[in-house]
């Protein structure tokens, strides 16, 4: 039995309605309890800001394309490197760090749970291998279905039950967590070097549209009672004028779940562009947030960009190629048979580029214009918009109008006319930030019941104690202190153990991987479906028996079983 007693903590725990109370937290064997014995180890939080461990609900840290980002970028590996020290392994990389680099830096910032944004089922084993080497965070993997042939066949037949059955089989085989759609239909078209231009275009050879894929998958998701909703990267990412596609997509979404959203729209900054060309691109954040403010069934995340060099990586292969034709730097592409695509290119977001400045402003506008912070979560689509180590700066910008104004003064001309950022007075408070970095994520991902995102009795003791005294810092003026404070916790506690102290990792990690075993009625089990098996054996290049990820790849797997539907 191990016990820990955190006293004098200034707790913000939005899920339990606690906002800045000084209190003590008792921990036994990794969970929060009512009280502990007097033999417990004691941490005096000294009235510092204490939050549930941070949760990133959309980040790219593990798997085939992330590793290829490292593989092709020795210049980045040199940009961030640390020696072996105590319990810490060598790390390399700044915007695509090695697995240990990701894990240590997230931990130093108080993050204890991560959702990998995109995993191709055929390559799931790779993602899980890297999860094991990302030891200080509990992991989950969004599983890609955007170009899944069996799904598109079931969608064409308008068969929600069959769609659900394919999803359930694939999630179990890949040890995945939820449904990810990246440019639905577009990644299949990219198999021929083509893309789709809207949600009512036909996917070549499959006679379905993105709209049909999205709506059928939403219904299948709810039929399966998955903890998370459909997680969507909309069509037309990064194209001027794409906000209309985004709004049209939002209109498709019914409100089907009382406990959480019905659609999670990711990195919406990249989907909120007006205009028709790169010359007249402008912000449509107001239109997007107007829609979201009236639709509780939608949660989005920011997709904030920050200035500097980074790497873009996504399953959206055609988008990456278009971007490559603009940048003419190096380009990698990796399409996955019967499932999805992917692309990678390095980019530099520059203050000299009006387009980049507008993108930067849009992300902030989205957050500031969304009334309910549970509906707009903070992230950068790491590393696409910026590496996650920039989150503290994003927090600073959201909390301080002065910081925003100072930044705006350094940007290329035209931003003021083409966005509304400079006119926005809102300054977020500590509670808003706690929602946007942990409570909102826990709710959106449906992991509150797994003891994540809050500090109630029974919760997993994942806790971040920041060197910030909320009673003595004015974030509007002293935003530098806010940024510094969120960069490095005093203590990061993971399942009741202090894993990181003042930015240094002090123990070996022991993370868990959450995956969903969705139950379907006996007659819908794909492993017994002769047609499914036949097509699998004919068109994949691995045997069906060799496809599912073996349990040995999840040394601390946590299976979430759903109830069978009828």
């Amino acid at each position: 039995m191990t016990e820990l007693w955190v006293k004098n903590a200034c707790v913000i725990d939005p899920i339990r309605g606690i906002n800045g109370e000084i209190m003590d937290i008792a921990i036994r064997d990794g969970r929060i309890v009512e009280s502990v014995s007097d033999r417990a180890d004691v941490i005096d939080a000294q009235r510092c800001l204490t939050l549930p461990g941070g949760i990133d609900s959309h980040t790219h840290v593990s798997g085939t394309k992330v590793n290829f980002g490292r593989y092709m970028s020795p210049e980045d590996m040199r940009a961030g490197r640390t020696k072996r020290k105590g319990k810490m392994h060598v790390t390399s990389g700044y915007y695509v760090p090695t697995t240990f680099g990701n894990s240590y830096r997230y931990s130093a910032m108080g993050y204890t749970t991560l959702l990998e944004g995109a995993m191709a089922p055929l390559e799931a084993r790779h993602t899980h291998e890297e999860f094991t080497a990302t030891p200080h965070q509990d992991m989950m993997a969004n599983t890609l279905f955007d170009g899944n042939w069996a799904v598109m066949d079931a969608v064409r037949e308008k068969d929600v039950r069959k769609t659900a059955a394919v999803v359930a089989w694939t999630l179990k085989a890949a040890r995945g967590y939820g449904i990810k759609l990246t440019n639905p239909g577009g990644t299949e078209a990219w198999g021929w070097g083509e893309d789709l231009t809207g949600i009512h275009d036909m996917v070549p050879h499959f006679a379905v549209t993105p709209a049909e894929i999205i709506t059928t998958m939403i219904r299948a998701n709810e039929l399966l009672k998955l903890p998370h909703s459909v997680h969507l990267h909309c069509n037309n990412l990064g194209k001027p004028g794409n906000y209309q596609t985004t709004l049209e997509t939002f209109e498709l979404v019914p409100d089907l779940n009382a406990a959480r959203q019905t659609l999670y729209a990711t990195h919406v900054q990249f989907h909120a562009y007006g205009g028709g060309t790169w010359k007249n691109i402008c912000s449509k954040a107001e239109e997007i947030t107007r829609s979201v403010n009236s639709k509780p069934q939608i949660v989005m995340d920011m997709g904030q960009i920050m200035f500097g060099r980074t790497m873009t990586m996504t399953a959206d292969g055609p988008m990456e190629f278009n971007l490559h034709c603009l940048h003419n730097n190096k380009w990698s592409n990796h399409d996955v048979e019967l499932e999805t695509g992917s692309g990678i290119i390095p980019v530099t977001y520059s203050k000299k580029s009006a387009v980049n400045c507008i993108m930067w402003a849009i992300g902030l506008e989205l957050a500031l214009l969304t009334k309910n912070p549970y509906q707009c979560l903070l992230e950068t689509d790491n590393p696409n918009g910026a590496p996650f180590v920039k989150y503290p700066e994003v927090i600073g910008l959201l909390m301080s109008k002065r910081y925003r104004d100072e930044e705006c003064a350094t940007l290329a001309a035209g931003v003021e006319q083409r966005t509304s950022l400079c006119a926005l007075e809102r300054e977020m408070d500590w509670h808003d930030i706690a929602v946007m970095t942990r409570a909102g994520q826990a709710k959106a991902l449906g992991i509150g019941s797994q003891g994540k995102g809050h500090l109630g009795v029974g919760a997993e003791a994942d806790i971040a104690i920041y060197p910030i005294r909320t009673d003595s810092v004015d974030p509007a003026r002293e935003y530098r202190k806010v940024v510094e404070g969120f960069q490095k916790t005093r203590y990061t506690i993971k399942r009741g153990r202090v894993v990181s102290r003042d930015g240094e990792i002090i123990v070996d990690g022991a993370n868990a991987t959450f995956w969903v075993d969705a139950k379907v009625p006996e007659d819908l089990k794909m492993e017994n479906d002769p047609e499914f098996i036949k097509r699998f054996e004919q068109f994949y290049t691995v045997r069906m028996s060799n496809y599912p990820v073996q349990d040995v790849y999840l040394p601390r797997g946590r299976r979430i079983e759903t109830e069978v539907f009828t």
Partner: protein, 429 residues
């Protein structure tokens, strides 16, 4: 007993549809595999126990003794090299990286003498590729450049390309155009619809000519480029531009001939150019079964796919300096651990000669040319035969190798963990 869907660990194709029949703990029959697969499973003659060189020959030693002495040699070395890794599973590769990190060693894999130049090119311009099933289901144009899959990857064409029935290519033999580019008429050239014979060292020029033609600059091309007629080049460019889906596979004929990584860069840029007209992909034909896995494991752990030097405490990468051949040729290395590979057979003479001068330890199931240069040879399981573990196919698809029989050998990952424990005062990685 017959085991189905067994993965052949030999080459980068990792065919996973073999049927292996065992009888009394021995493999008696291999079905579906190529000749290389059959030999891998059937001619698996092992070194029975660890051996150590004596003044007059070899003596048997215990595993415990061999492991202890290996650890002591590594501990005492100033510039240890850990090399090989491509024929074992990722679990062993991962322990290898931990050892290198712990003792400040150089760790390198066989990419250094095969597709290292391809990796350098990819680091300059990227890699437009895909999984092999995309090619199987879609490609109507296949190009084999500087490689001979008929002999080196015998089932590549029947499983993934020329003869494979794909969803959009139901009549593969009729619907696919196969182009073979090489300096000599190989067996693979024999099945080509179009054979392009290039003069030695002319690959770069031919790739440049094709790029120019694709860009609409045919007028600048002379009548012959490295022995290839302008008419044929224009014809090839046209086949590529009008393909629905084209795939280039290349081998050491392109990576290791004059121009080296610049050839690959040019081939990738041709692929990039063709994507402005249609869909095109390019991929190296990787040799060892899990060489790509060693690149993957090294990369997520250290940031670099090969040639990683931990001497400075951080991971440092500078191919040409930190590559195994160069460390050995400069006489810099004072102890070497060779795992799952045979540098004695395929390193340049000067590099191999240095291995014989220093204490070299081999961990490998089989006696090979490196054994003759070594001080200690520790036999172990062979991944995919009597050990399970992860391997990455040449296209990045991770596949679990199976344990088909038990021959009583320790797994190389276990041997390496014990070496690590010795080096780390009894504490594991």
């Amino acid at each position: 007993m017959i085991e189905h869907d067994v993965v052949c660990p030999f080459c980068g194709c990792l065919c996973d549809d073999l049927e292996i029949e065992t009888e009394g703990g021995r493999i008696v029959k291999v079905q579906n595999g190529c000749a290389l697969a059959e030999s891998t499973f059937m001619n698996d003659v092992r070194l029975p126990a660890p051996i150590r060189r004596t003044e007059t020959g070899w003596e048997d030693i215990s595993y415990q003794e061999a492991i202890k002495e290996t650890a002591e040699i590594l501990q005492g070395a100033d510039r240890p090299l850990l090399y090989g890794w491509s024929s074992t599973h990722g679990e062993a590769q991962s322990v290898g990286v931990h050892i290198a990190e712990l003792i400040g060693a150089v760790i390198d894999n066989t990419s250094t003498v095969c597709h290292g130049p391809s990796i350098l090119a990819i680091q300059e311009v990227g890699h437009p590729g895909c999984t092999l099933g995309q090619v199987k289901n879609r490609a109507d144009v296949i190009i084999y450049w500087g490689c001979n899959p008929v002999e080196a990857h015998p089932r590549h064409m029947s499983r993934y390309t020329t003869y494979a029935t794909g969803f959009f290519v139901p009549d593969a033999q009729r619907e696919r155009t196969v182009i073979v580019v090489d300096t000599r008429r190989t067996d693979t050239a024999g099945i080509a619809d179009e054979f392009v014979q290039i003069e030695h060292g002319g690959d770069y020029a031919v790739l440049s000519a094709l790029r120019a033609i694709v860009r609409g600059k045919a007028s600048v091309i002379p009548a012959k480029v490295a022995g290839v007629s302008k008419e044929q080049l224009i014809r090839i460019a046209e086949i590529c531009k009008t393909a629905k889906f084209g795939a280039i596979f290349f081998g050491l004929g392109l990576t290791m001939s004059r121009g080296k990584y610049k050839n690959i860069r040019n081939a990738i840029e041709l692929t990039d150019e063709l994507n402005r007209y249609t869909k095109f992909v390019i991929s190296p034909l990787r040799g060892h079964g899990n060489v790509y896995g060693s690149n993957e494991v090294f990369t997520w752990m250290t940031g670099y796919p090969f040639a990683v030097d931990f001497a400075r405490g951080i991971a440092f990468y500078n191919p040409g300096e930190t590559t195994a051949v160069d460390i050995l040729r400069r006489g810099e290395c004072d102890a070497a651990l060779i795992v799952a590979s045979d540098p004695g057979a395929n390193f340049p003479r000067a590099a191999a000669a240095h291995l014989a001068k220093i204490p070299t330890i081999v961990i490998d199931p089989h006696v090979n040319a490196t054994t003759a240069l070594s001080r200690i040879h520790i036999p172990c399981t062979a991944a995919g035969i009597d050990a399970a573990g992860t391997a990455y196919r040449m296209d990045g698809v991770p596949i679990r190798l199976k344990k088909v029989i038990d021959r009583g050998y320790p797994d190389d990952a276990e041997i390496l963990k014990k070496i690590y424990d010795h080096l780390n005062g009894g504490k594991g990685p």
